[in-house]
Structure formats: structure tokens, C-alpha cells
């Protein structure tokens, strides 16, 4: 994908060279009114010719093409605009619009300058740009909710026009899914860091129940800044076309948590001694299903929790995990009791047979 873009751009620069066009696709439009009166009519033609030569020599090296140094292209644009003032009568009404717009393109250009591409896109794929826009949009979510307006505001902080929101065909769904993916990756980092600490011996390994509790709490705490608008986000996730993606994120998160807790598995169904293959598979599914249930119910409780620092939610979480642990141990007890009962019945049957003389061989 990036290679295709690079190829396209190389083709374009070559075409630009051959057709002798001198229009650099620089985004720097600086029109400080102080400089314009300085360029007199006499010097204008000379300057323009000189700059065009300068530009052509610059564009001879394809990678560092016309917009590589903002200073020369800035002055070129001032002159270009000076000619535009003469030719277009209606240009005057657009100048006022260009001044506030001039500041916005300034910022992204300076950050891409080092990479010496015509557009910064050369060293950034479209997906990366989209994720940058969505990350910037997150800070506007408390104001606009999970919607296209938030994405538009985010794009504007990056210096892009609000029309670039058209790239997100799923609209608000894209924003919510991006946020969830971001939270999941953060959680994975935290869990990996803790795991490393345990491996290095710098921290005590935690019991499974505690581990699960802390992991779920860490993950849910990431929602706290957006808790006002979270019901809207959940409803967006439930839309039919978003369900596959949201389920995928949820299952990968639960999988990650169990992976990092996986060293000590409390066998939820089946004791460790009598584990049969089918039971161990059921074990994997059961664990994840149970954790999914805990996570979803805790999330719902968190939505309507108004206690300080969500204390009610965390105690709810505690209780649910405790339930699961109890169920695990009671399942084990049931199984051992069952086995004992069966042995007892077998013994009783043998005794009866002995008494009635059925066991004797004649």
C-alpha cells in the first residue's frame, strides 16, 4: 500500500517535471500582509523567474521535491498570490478566508519537513493518518458525543479540513472501535509489564481471583473520562454492522487477561487429577465465557454508579469473582461427593450379593 503510494508519487513528480509545471504542492500558504507591499512590480517578474529556476533545480532531485524547504516556497507563494490579486477580482473575498486557513496548514508541514516528502503521506499510510485523527477526536467526545462532529473537531486540530471525516465510512462506529482497540492495547501493555516483573522476581505472583479482579478494574477505569457518553458508545457497538467487530475486541481482551493469568488455572470444571481432554476444552471456553459475563455485567453496573470513585462497582466485581471461585470449589466438592456416593453404592451392592449368595461359585 505504501509502496503503491510512493510509486504514484514518483510518477507524479516525473510527470510534473516533464510538463514543466511549476506549481508546487506545498501546503504552506503564508500571506503576511506586511511582506506584500514590499514586492514592487519591477522586482516581481525577476523574483518569480529566479525562484522558478531555484524551484526547478530543487525539483530535479525527486525525493526532496518542491516543498522541501518551506522558506523558498513561502516566498514563491507570496509572489504567486501577488499575481493572483491582480488577475482575479473576486480573489479579495478569499484572502480573508486564507489568513485563518494559513495557520492551519503550517503545523503539519513543519513536522513532515524532515521526511522530505511532497506530502507527509509518503511516510505514513492512510490507516496511520486515520488513527491519528481518531485519537485527536477522543478529546472532543465529552463535548460532542461519539459522533462525526467529534471526528471533525479532531481533524481540525491536526490541520485537516473537516471534510476529511468522509474517510470514515462507519462514522461514529469507527471512533468507538478505535477507542476500544486502544484501551485493549493499553491493558495488554500493563499486564505484560506486570508479568515481566513477576518473571524477574521483583513482584509477588498474585492469586488468580485477585489477578482477574485487578485486570478488569484497570480496564474499566479507562472508561471513566468518557463515562457520561458511554451509554451512547455502547448503543453504537450494538448496531448490527458493528457487532462482529465489538465481539472480536471483547473476546481478544478476555483471551489476553486469561493468558496472563494462565499460569495458575483454577479448573472451573473438572479436578486437576481427572482431567479428560473434553473437559479441558470445556475449561477454556468456560473460563472465557465466565470472564465475559463478569466484565459485561460490571460495565453495566458502572454506567449507573454514582458512588465516589465507583466503589459500588468494584465491590460488585469482588462479589461476582467470589461467586465464581465458590462455584469452582463447590463443583469440585460435588464431584468428589458424587464419587464417594457412587463408591458407597457399589459397596452396598456387593455386600447384598454376598449376603444373598449370588456371588458364590459352585
Amino acid at each position: 500500500m505504501a509502496a503503491l503510494l510512493r510509486g504514484l508519487r514518483a510518477g507524479r513528480t516525473l510527470r510534473g517535471l516533464s510538463s514543466g509545471k511549476t506549481g508546487p504542492t506545498s501546503r504552506v500558504v503564508a500571506a503576511p500582509s506586511a511582506v506584500n507591499p514590499q514586492c514592487s512590480n519591477l522586482n516581481r517578474g525577476f523574483h518569480r523567474a529566479a525562484l522558478r529556476l531555484q524551484d526547478e533545480s530543487k525539483s530535479d532531485k525527486p525525493p526532496s521535491s518542491s516543498s522541501s524547504s518551506s522558506s523558498s516556497s513561502t516566498t514563491y507563494h507570496e509572489h504567486y498570490q501577488a499575481t493572483e490579486h491582480d488577475t482575479a477580482a473576486e480573489a479579495s473575498q478569499h484572502d480573508s478566508a486564507s489568513d485563518p486557513a494559513a495557520e492551519q496548514p503550517e503545523r503539519p508541514n513543519t513536522s513532515y519537513q524532515d521526511q522530505s516528502g511532497e506530502h507527509g503521506e509518503e511516510y505514513e499510510t492512510e490507516e496511520q493518518l486515520q488513527s491519528r485523527i481518531l485519537t485527536a477526536a477522543l478529546e472532543f467526545v465529552p463535548l460532542h458525543g461519539w459522533s462525526m462532529e467529534a471526528i471533525a473537531a479532531g481533524a481540525e486540530t491536526l490541520g485537516l479540513s473537516s471534510a476529511s471525516t468522509g474517510m470514515f465510512y462507519n462514522g461514529a462506529g469507527d471512533l468507538v472501535l478505535h477507542f476500544i482497540a486502544h484501551c485493549n492495547s493499553q491493558l495488554t501493555e500493563i499486564l505484560a509489564e506486570q508479568h515481566k516483573q513477576v518473571q524477574l522476581g521483583q513482584a509477588e505472583p498474585k492469586k488468580t481471583a485477585d489477578f482477574l479482579r485487578e485486570a478488569v478494574e484497570t480496564r474499566l477505569r479507562m472508561y471513566i473520562p468518557y463515562i457520561e457518553t458511554w451509554p451512547q458508545a455502547m448503543s453504537i457497538l450494538l448496531l448490527p454492522h458493528n457487532i462482529p467487530d465489538s465481539l472480536k475486541h471483547l473476546s481478544s481482551m478476555v483471551d489476553d487477561i486469561w493468558y496472563y493469568a494462565g499460569d495458575r488455572s483454577t479448573d472451573v470444571s473438572g479436578s486437576s487429577l481427572n482431567v479428560r481432554p473434553t473437559t479441558s476444552q470445556m475449561n477454556w471456553y468456560t473460563k472465557r465465557a465466565v470472564l465475559t459475563g463478569i466484565y459485561n455485567t460490571t460495565e453495566l453496573v458502572m454506567l449507573q454508579d454514582s458512588s465516589p470513585d465507583f466503589q459500588d462497582t468494584w465491590s460488585f466485581l469482588d462479589n461476582r469473582i467470589q461467586d465464581v471461585v465458590n462455584m469452582a470449589s463447590s463443583a469440585k466438592q460435588v464431584q468428589s461427593t458424587g464419587e464417594a456416593v457412587v463408591q458407597g453404592l457399589m459397596g452396598a451392592a456387593v455386600t447384598l450379593k454376598n449376603l444373598t449368595g449370588l456371588n458364590q461359585r459352585r
Partner: protein, 326 residues
Amino acid sequence: MAASMRLLVRRAVRLSHRNITLTAAGAAARSGCCRGPSVCRCFSDEAEDRSTHFGFETVSETEKAKRVYKVFENVAQKYDIMNDAMSLGIHRVWKDALLHVMHPQPGAQLLDVAGGTGDIAFRFLEYIRLQEERQKRRAARSSQTPSWQDISNNYSTEDESRESRAVVCDINKEMLKVGKQKADSLGVSAGLSWVVGDAEELPFDDDQFDIYTIAFGIRNVTHIDQALQEALRVLKPGGRFMCLEFSKVNNPILSSIYDAYSFQMIPVIGEVIAGDWKSYQYLVESIRKFPNQEEFKGMIEDAGFYCVKYYNLTGGVVALHSGFKL
């Protein structure tokens, strides 16, 4: 040689009675001359002699611009009525679909090139007005009773926020005149400007507009790649290029119905309603000469747009292409 033969054929056709022979002549002309203009273009090098297509005819590039100007000068008064009659009103659906895909945010600046009678610009302003109303209603609902501070803020920020603007640019003064009359009768005046300009050389500075649209106009442009480059120039970073244009129908059944309708009915309607057979003959022929969806998408990507996508409307009769300047 080929051009004169074509003219003879057409004149003979018009002398005889039109209906059935027209389709045959149209088909013959189409198949016979498709190779003609490309051959002519290969052999001629000077700019003045470089030829291009004007419908199914081959003309020099300078002449094409003049003839296109005359076509639209003639049809300007009856343009809207003819649109409704020819497309059976479906063109409104197409233009609404363009706005729906565009989904402009309040504060956006639109440039509508070859906008003529201003259909897209009016729809744009209406869409933004509804969006702003919806936002105000949402804000009012969320804040139960606005405090004195909120009320005073509302009064002061009304002028500060960027007002959305639509600029209609057209090479043809007659079309703009009709558009202005429509605007006056609709009572729309705020945020609307009318500019005379050539799509290949726009009279605007760089990085001016959020959205650039060209609806059913780009096939009339002599150098399409120049128009695309101008579009790239005047758009802000992150700006969107949108083009609504007639395109190739892939379905063979629909295609044959569409061809029959185009070559048989449309010039007749043109003659009856607008009194101009030749202009509408040019119209249907220019549709056939325009590149298909994939080719045009390639041209847009070559000009430097990213995330280029197209949507087929009405089975490919109309295609909506969209690209971003990133």
C-alpha cells in the same frame, strides 16, 4: 475524412424521418469514429492543431471550448426543466445522494465548479442549516435552563464561528445568471457567491476550500487532468473532491435500454421543450466519450488524491467519485 463522413451521415439522417434510422446511425457513427479522434490526436503535435472529441465529432481543442460555451448558452434558460424531463426527476435523487455522501459539517466551505444553476450549492446550504438546527436543539435539550453566562455566550459566538459558504463557479455567464435568478426567487442569499471561472484555471488561491464538487460538468472540460490538478490546488489539506458524472452501465439489458432512450428520446425532448436538437445530441454523445468508472478513478489518483472511491447510482448510469487531499 472520417469527420466529414460522419457529418454527411448525420445530415442524411436528419433529412429522412428520424426515429429508427437514428439509432442505427448513432451506433455506426459510434463504432466507426471511436478510433478516429485517438488517431488524429497521435499524429498532431502543435497545441492549436491538437484535436479532441466534441460528442462524436473531432474538433480542435480551442474550438471545443467555444462550442461547449455555445451549447450551454443556448440551453441555459431551459436547463432545469430539461433536466427534470430527461432524467424523469431522478437527477434530484442523484444530487441528494451527493450531499448525503458528502455529509458536510457546519463551517465548511464549498466550491461548486460548473455549478451553473446552483443546484448543489442550494442543497449544501440547506443541509448545513438543518445540521446547525439539529445541533442547537441537542444543545438545548441537554442543558435544561441555560445560565446567564450561557445565554451571553450564545449571543457573542454567533459571529465568531466560521460561517459555511458556497461558491458557484462556472465558465458560462448565462448559466450563472439563471442561477442567480433562482437564488433570488428561493430567497437564498447568505453565504452564496457566483464566480465566472474556467475549471482548468480557477481564479482562487491555494488551500481555500473544504469541499470541491463538480456535478455533470467534468465531461465538458477539454483537459480533465488540468481540472483535477486545479481541484487539488484549491482544496485545503484534508479537503474532499467529489464528482458526479454519467458513466458506463455494466448491465447489458439496462445498457441497451439506456442507449435507446438516450439516442432516441433525449434529442427529441430537447427539440420539443428547448427547441435545440444539436445541444442534446452533443450531451448524449459526450456521455459516451467520457472514461468509465475505473479509468476515471485512475485519473483522480494520478492527480494526487487519496482514498479514491466511487459509488454507482442507478446501476452505473451515474457514478459518484470521491477523493481526499491528504
